[in-house]
Assembly symmetry: C2
Homo-oligomer: 440 residues x 2
């Protein structure tokens, strides 16, 4: 209930080591703490935001019929030798020897492990399709970790994998994830655009990155602006609707760096529609057919014939999304962050002016808190003894979207109410409840 | 909705490698799959149970005012050198060199890391007490991992840490976790008894293990039977009530192996009350004062004086609890498992007899399913084409506590209803809803 009891170590100034605004804000508002190079602990506010993002990601996976499992962080090298990727993967893979001198590794991705699970469990085509996902910590031993949790070593990711009998069915699975990603990012109030992308070490020949625009992004993109107007609302989950949606997007040239071809870009996109900018990758989906099923012998019986299953994989960077939302929503010029209500650590903050000999304002805030709670609105009371303008400044950075302000002379029955960083209004508590409930 | 669509690879027989009943049942009912020695993947049913246990553990931590954070799995060796435990810890610590040749490790416990977080964030005694917890994967490189997830290498644990100014305050924090553990295990329908225990590599001189009785347990215990009758219901969270509760327990001799003293046992416990048996450790709490705060210089300012904080730590094995509940609840003689409703993968199963040319039973089950869903009861329909008695046998093992049975000639408006493994009754659907709602 009281901010003073929370473990939220606020910094007075931007830490000098942080070069981009998400890193600055997360350190400054006590969301994370670095524990070693590229490795972070999540403190209560950062943790709450990440967990809410995770839950939205989970719900949208469940909505397309994907089932949640959990694979371990530490894997045996043996399955990576089967697929042939053990040598290929390079130094970003954290390789480990256990006490028996067995070669192990901290999973950077899970195609091998999930293929191993599939092949030992599923025997018949009748059990297809299977969509499996998990949300787990991963490790990539970056040479130069930087930008806080945006390019770190230990990170939290949702990985999904699809198993189908035919290419056509597999495309349908691919498209289910395509729409579920659009829905996920929309619920996070991000405008993420699918762009044709390189498949890299995952393999295959079909891939989309989901990119949000940001100056600090590390992905270069080349696109027809009109792709931002494609409407993905109210799409039914059936083969044709999803195919049509994919076609709607693919009408427009939209690629990442590795796929960029100057001639094609200029041929396909009128000058006034060309956009060449930077973005942040928040999701990446791949279709790679039988690349792993063949090398690892994952097949099903199809009416007496052995068929290698067709697979795709689908990733969302859950911890990275915390930073990506800040990059998209933080106005660092004016010192104002605004979390989407769906992932904010609290729905609203009650900022109280406190004087030493008068506790009436604090009592008023506790009553407000109880009333909000009764209406399922999660609030926090700033009961610290900082001066009032520091409190406002601090909560503008913390980014809880709604502020209820009990100033020095707040005696009327109206309460100052503010959407963070905007003009405030004096409203009755009934009106405030009405507004907050309508936003939830 | 349909069991046939779920990824639940059921085995026909007990796998020979499994020696204890939790390991057997978890493999047999497709809850887990071993990925390498002592390392497991969690498949949908196992995952669901573990997540529900995690949520109960979390709620009871929040109820005593502990705040959730998340520390990474990979730690730097530097903080372990500060505390002096880096060399001590032995071969169970998974030691790792990263690509820069830095010495890292997979955290087996987090006293050092949480002390590092505390010392950089908290400066004044006014911010005390602080109770922080996290739920994270840990690794102990067991020489001989065995018994499935009961003694494995990668495991899921809740760790909490308390920080206080004085010994007296720290005892109060210790007692808060003491009661929260009793409540947690009660919600899991486990009768776990706190027993005086050795502190081992954690250190300090006060410690309790929470033990549930089980023949397959690896902990030997010596106790006065009457300790099972101590009532911990309706205890208020204040200093005196908690102290009294601790005293109630400590009236009775109850120790683990390392603390056992034959003379004391026989002196303090009448012959008829002596119990010498085996149990499973499901929780372990420690008080170790300034052991880490002194060596790592974690102090607060107390009215101008520097004071090292007094710390305790508090662990619950979340993944291990899945196995512990099975050890406590699985009647392997009769092939009947019964999950507590609070952690069961589903609230009830609708077992349907299906004939090839008649889909009426299946349609009936779908209507039932929808009705249950409307009443917030989560059901699953067994729509497989196995014969009826195999279905019953299978679901007796899976352990969903309530079965609704639509047999061949189910034409009346009554439905066969069964608490798994017990006698069935024919009830109206209204009556069944009433029963299920009363259990939730």
């Amino acid at each position: 209930m009281f901010f003073s009891k929370l473990f939220v170590p606020i910094l007075k100034n931007n830490p000098t080591e942080a070069k981009i605004k998400s890193h600055q804000l997360m350190l400054r508002t006590g969301m994370i703490k670095q524990s070693s190079a590229g490795i972070y602990s999540w403190l209560p506010f950062g943790f709450k935001v990440m967990k809410k993002i995770e839950q939205i990601v989970r719900e949208e996976q469940n909505n397309i019929g994907a089932q949640e499992i959990l694979m371990p962080t530490i894997q045996s090298s043996e399955i990576w030798m089967e697929s042939g990727r053990y040598q290929d993967y390079g130094e970003e893979m954290l390789r480990i020897k256990d006490r028996q001198d067995r070669e192990m590794l901290y999973g950077p991705t899970n195609e091998e492990l999930v293929t191993d699970i599939f092949r030992s469990s599923v025997k018949s085509y009748k059990s297809l399709p299977q969509l499996l996902y998990h949300i787990q910590w991963k490790f990539r031993d970056e040479l130069r970790p930087r930008f806080g949790i945006m390019r770190c070593r230990e990170f939290y990711m949702k990985d999904a994998y699809s198993f189908d009998l035919s290419d056509e069915e597999a495309q349908y699975s691919y498209n289910k994830f395509f729409i579920s990603y659009l829905k996920t990012f929309k619920r996070l109030e991000l405008s993420a655009i699918p762009m044709a992308a390189d498949t890299g070490p995952i393999g295959g020949n079909l891939s989309h990155e989901f990119i949000i625009l940001a100056d600090t992004g590390e992905s270069k993109i080349y696109t027809d602006k009109r792709i931002f107007d494609v409407n993905s609302d109210n799409i039914r989950i059936d083969k044709n609707s999803l195919l049509n949606l994919r076609n709607e997007y693919e009408k427009f040239y939209a690629v990442t760096d590795e796929k960029y071809n100057k001639n094609e870009f200029e041929k396909n996109v009128n000058k006034e529609n060309r956009l060449n900018t930077k973005g942040i990758e928040v999701g990446h989906i791949f279709y790679f057919g039988d690349k792993y099923s063949k090398s690892m012998n994952a097949s099903v019986d199809h009416k007496g014939k052995k068929e290698f299953v067709k697979m795709g994989s689908y990733g969302i960077g859950v911890s990275r999304l915390v930073g990506a939302i800040i990059e998209a929503k933080y106005d660092d010029k004016n010192g104002v962050m605004r979390w989407p209500l769906s992932v904010s650590p609290y729905d609203c903050v009650i900022i109280v002016s406190i004087s030493k000999n008068d506790t009436s304002n604090l009592e008023k805030s506790v009553k407000l808190f109880e009333l909000l709670k009764k209406n399922n609105i999660e609030a926090i009371i700033d009961d610290t003894d900082e001066n009032f303008s520091s409190k406002i400044k601090k909560f503008n950075l913390i980014g809880i979207p709604y502020q209820l302000i009990l100033g020095k002379n707040s005696e009327s029955d109206k309460i100052e109410f503010r959407d963070v960083g905007k003009e405030s209004n004096n409203y009755s508590i009934e009106k405030i409840l009405e507004i907050l409930k309508s936003k939830k």
